[in-house]
């Protein structure tokens, strides 16, 4: 199509050729002009900070003597020093380990519940569908900091209504903010906020399935449960893969919940999650250089994990499309 449109003016003779060429050149620039705002914004707010972070990650600050007075501090090239110390930092390894445990608790529970709710909402006999859908989705609209504060109050035995009830029954329930249970406490906040969003994604995918398939299955004698497990779940597999991927990335980046809960308990350190470690290094310890190196490592790891995950599940999830 485009080829014929472009070739048309060339074959047509015209007296005012130069001005025509100018119009053509101008026309060729139009798409770039339209792209310009996007490109500029991307360059200024995405590309430039990323390159600056890369640059900083290879620098460090050196001090001489007491470090007091002018000129005693200078920024020097550090090579891979920041990367080596970040990878060798036991706090970093520990934070990654904690986040993996957190993810193992959160992601299956969140996606399982989301799938269950999506299938229930999609089932024929379900009543008060709109109300249920909204009330399950609503927590997603609450910012993580707010929900962490709310849950923080509910977790603290002295101010929590739950613990008041437990006490009336004479049960001795351990504090959810104690070191053994705090990961569950944080995962619960993520679960509360995340189920609704994932459910909506899955439910939307279910709505897109043509109803003839279900009719055919019913005629063949399949029960509601069989339809759900053998037809609905395999059909929305791509949506499941996508939500799993997003959930895994969100898990690696957990920050707001543990940061908000930290002042309430002794069992969360300032390096509980990898991003908290980056934040502490950059803004508490004034060491943006090693914070930059750790950021790059986390970004690369996130990218690698997403890529591997997609490679592994793609064939199974999207197999029928090939």
């Amino acid at each position: 199509m485009t080829a014929t449109v472009e070739s048309a003016p060339v074959t047509t003779r015209h007296p005012e050729r130069p001005s025509r060429r100018r119009t053509q050149a101008r026309r060729a620039l139009v798409p770039y002009a339209m792209l310009a705002p996007g490109i500029v914004l991307f360059a200024v707010f995405m590309a430039a900070p990323i390159f600056y972070t890369l640059y900083l990650s290879f620098q460090k600050e050196m001090v001489e003597g007491l470090g007091l007075g002018s000129g005693s501090r200078s920024q020097v090239f550090a090579g891979f020093e920041n990367y080596v110390s970040a990878l060798g930092n036991p706090e970093f390894g520990a934070s990654v380990g904690r986040v993996l445990v957190y993810g193992l608790i959160l992601v299956p529970a969140m996606l399982g519940l989301a799938l269950l709710f999506a299938l229930l909402l999609d089932a024929k006999r379900t009543r008060t569908r709109a109300f249920s859908r909204t009330s399950i989705f609503l927590p997603y609209a609450v910012p993580a900091v707010i929900s962490s504060l709310l849950w923080g109050f509910l977790y603290l035995p002295a101010v929590s209504p739950f613990y008041w009830v437990f006490e009336q029954f004479g049960w001795d329930v351990p504090s959810l903010l104690s070191s053994g249970l705090v990961t569950f406490a944080i995962a619960n906040i993520g679960l509360w906020g995340g189920v609704g969003f994932n459910m909506i994604v899955m439910y939307t995918a279910l709505k897109a399935v043509p109803s003839e398939i279900y009719e055919a299955a019913t005629i063949d004698g399949a029960s509601e449960l069989q339809i759900a497990l053998r037809i609905k779940v395999p059909i929305i597999a791509p949506a499941l893969v996508m939500t799993a991927l997003f959930s895994m990335i969100a898990t690696l980046q957990v920050f707001a919940e543990p940061t908000t809960l930290r002042p309430l308990t002794n069992s969360l350190s300032t390096s509980w999650s990898p991003l908290m470690l980056v934040y502490r290094d950059a803004f508490t310890r004034d060491d943006v250089y090693s914070a930059a190196a750790t950021s790059i490592i986390i970004a690369l790891a996130t990218f690698a994990i997403s890529f591997i995950f997609l490679r592994v599940v793609q064939r199974r999830a999207f197999g029928q499309e090939d």
Partner: protein, 435 residues
């Protein structure tokens, strides 16, 4: 991506700061009423601008504009960014004492010794003056307020149990046991792993030297006898279970202040504000006393909080700035306004005595409140902060949180060792000479 965005935000902040300097004063000449010297002042104390208004009215030749900051930490982060960027810093900044060495190490603070600041040393207690000179000849800031530590307790509970106010730490431990035995839900206090400044104050009282300057080298003495004594003492009480192990300033702690399960609090002179804000209904039930001593014959105290007025290296009007800062922190009229408007406890000894006569409303049952406070302020031991207080403080949060959770005396001592190691490692890896 979010991390890189945050760095971008830093750059934006720097750019914004650049724009703000567009209206900085042009030359260093003395101002006149028609062509005044204009000074910018970053501060976060509430209502400070009202005190500055008094100055501006009386001194048409030097006009000061207060630029309200979010708090001590964000203001310093912003200042360090402006210093790195080469412009954008204000003339004056409100700086907490523990931030001064960090700021000096980043070459952010001007030496005020030659601009007339040395002459007012006698206005302030020695311990406070040391923290703005770092023990040398330079003067990096003018002290504004201090936070001598005090012991707050529920007088009604003490009377009910027939307890007397502890004057030594041994007595404090006895009272803690008595309170907890009488009612296991009650504690005389809590060991807070969240408040490094609080622990530093307790260490200061025990005559610790966390940092020291020896010729060209820094000494770090966190894990040494005085602080070990403090850590061992608190570890013992927490292990025994007679002192709570939960952090301060949580909803749970507030509930404890209200319902009487927290029977005492090791706070500072600004405590009435905290207590009236968090437990207003308990007004009249509390009393204040001096911090218990290690040795009753040698009263000593520590500081928790307090800040100073510093002049930045980017200021072109250091002398005018010093003139203003001196007025703000020593003039009786200014101090009186600071006390009523911002509610601080002034560092200037004479001015504090003149301005603070009537006890705070929350302590109307204790008319001699400010006499107790004056005694607490007079016995503050000297204490030197180092160039990486931020690192040591965040190490305190992490290591002592673990120890408090473990409720073991040995864990407290291990935490102190870890705090020392992290602090020294950070200094050596940045290139500081550490002996």
């Amino acid at each position: 991506m979010r991390r890189t965005l945050r760095l971008g935000a830093l750059a934006t902040a720097a750019a914004a700061a650049l724009i703000m300097t567009g209206c900085a004063p042009d030359a260093g000449q003395a101002g006149t009423a028609d062509d005044p010297v204009e000074l910018t002042y970053w501060a976060w104390a509430p209502n400070l601008d009202k005190v500055v208004d008094i100055w501006n009215e009386e001194h048409p030749e030097i006009q000061v504009t207060v630029n309200k900051q979010d708090g001590g930490d964000p203001a310093i982060t912003k200042l360090l960014t402006a210093i790195k960027a080469g412009s954008g810093a204000p003339d004056l900044i409100q700086a907490e004492y523990q931030k001064i060495p960090t700021l000096v190490a980043s070459d952010a603070l001007a030496d005020l010794a030659d601009a007339g600041a040395s002459d007012i040393a006698s206005e302030f207690p020695d311990g406070v003056w040391d923290s703005v000179t770092l023990g040398g000849d330079a003067v990096y800031a003018i002290p504004q307020d201090t936070g001598p530590m005090m012991f707050y307790y529920r007088d009604d509970v003490f009377q009910q149990l027939g307890l007397s106010v502890p004057t030594t730490w041994d007595e404090y431990a006895e009272v803690a046991r008595a309170v907890h035995t009488a009612d296991p839900s009650k504690f005389l206090g809590t060991f807070s792993a969240n408040d490094a400044g609080w622990f530093a104050g307790l260490a200061q009282q025990a005559n610790s030297e966390w940092w020291s300057i020896d010729g060209d080298a820094w000494g770090v003495g966190i894990d040494e006898e005085p602080t070990q004594k403090v850590a061992d003492y608190w570890g013992g009480l927490v292990e025994e279970g007679v002192i709570d192990n939960k952090p301060m300033y949580t909803p749970e702690w507030n509930a404890g202040l209200n319902d009487g399960t927290q029977v005492g609090w090791l706070g500072a002179v600004w405590g009435p504000g905290v207590l009236s804000g968090n437990a207003a209904d308990t007004a009249g039930l509390w009393k204040a006393a001096a911090l218990p001593d290690w040795d009753a014959s040698q009263p000593s105290n520590g500081n928790w909080g307090g800040s100073s007025t510093a002049v930045t290296t980017q200021s072109k009007n250091v002398e005018a700035a010093v003139e203003f800062a001196t007025w703000l922190n020593t003039d009786p009229e200014a101090i009186a306004a600071l006390v009523t408007e911002t509610g601080i406890y002034p560092a200037s000894t004479a001015a504090a005595a003149g301005a603070l006569t009537e006890a705070p409303e929350f302590f109307s049952n204790q008319p001699d409140f400010y006499d107790v406070a004056a005694g607490a302020a007079a016995s503050v031991a000297p204490f030197q902060y180092g160039p990486n207080v931020n690192v040591a403080f965040s190490a305190y949060n992490d290591e002592f949180a673990k120890a408090a959770e473990a409720k073991s005396r040995q864990a407290f001592l291990d935490a102190l060792t870890a705090m020392q190691t992290i602090t020294v490692d950070d200094m050596t890896s940045s290139g500081f000479t550490v002996k």
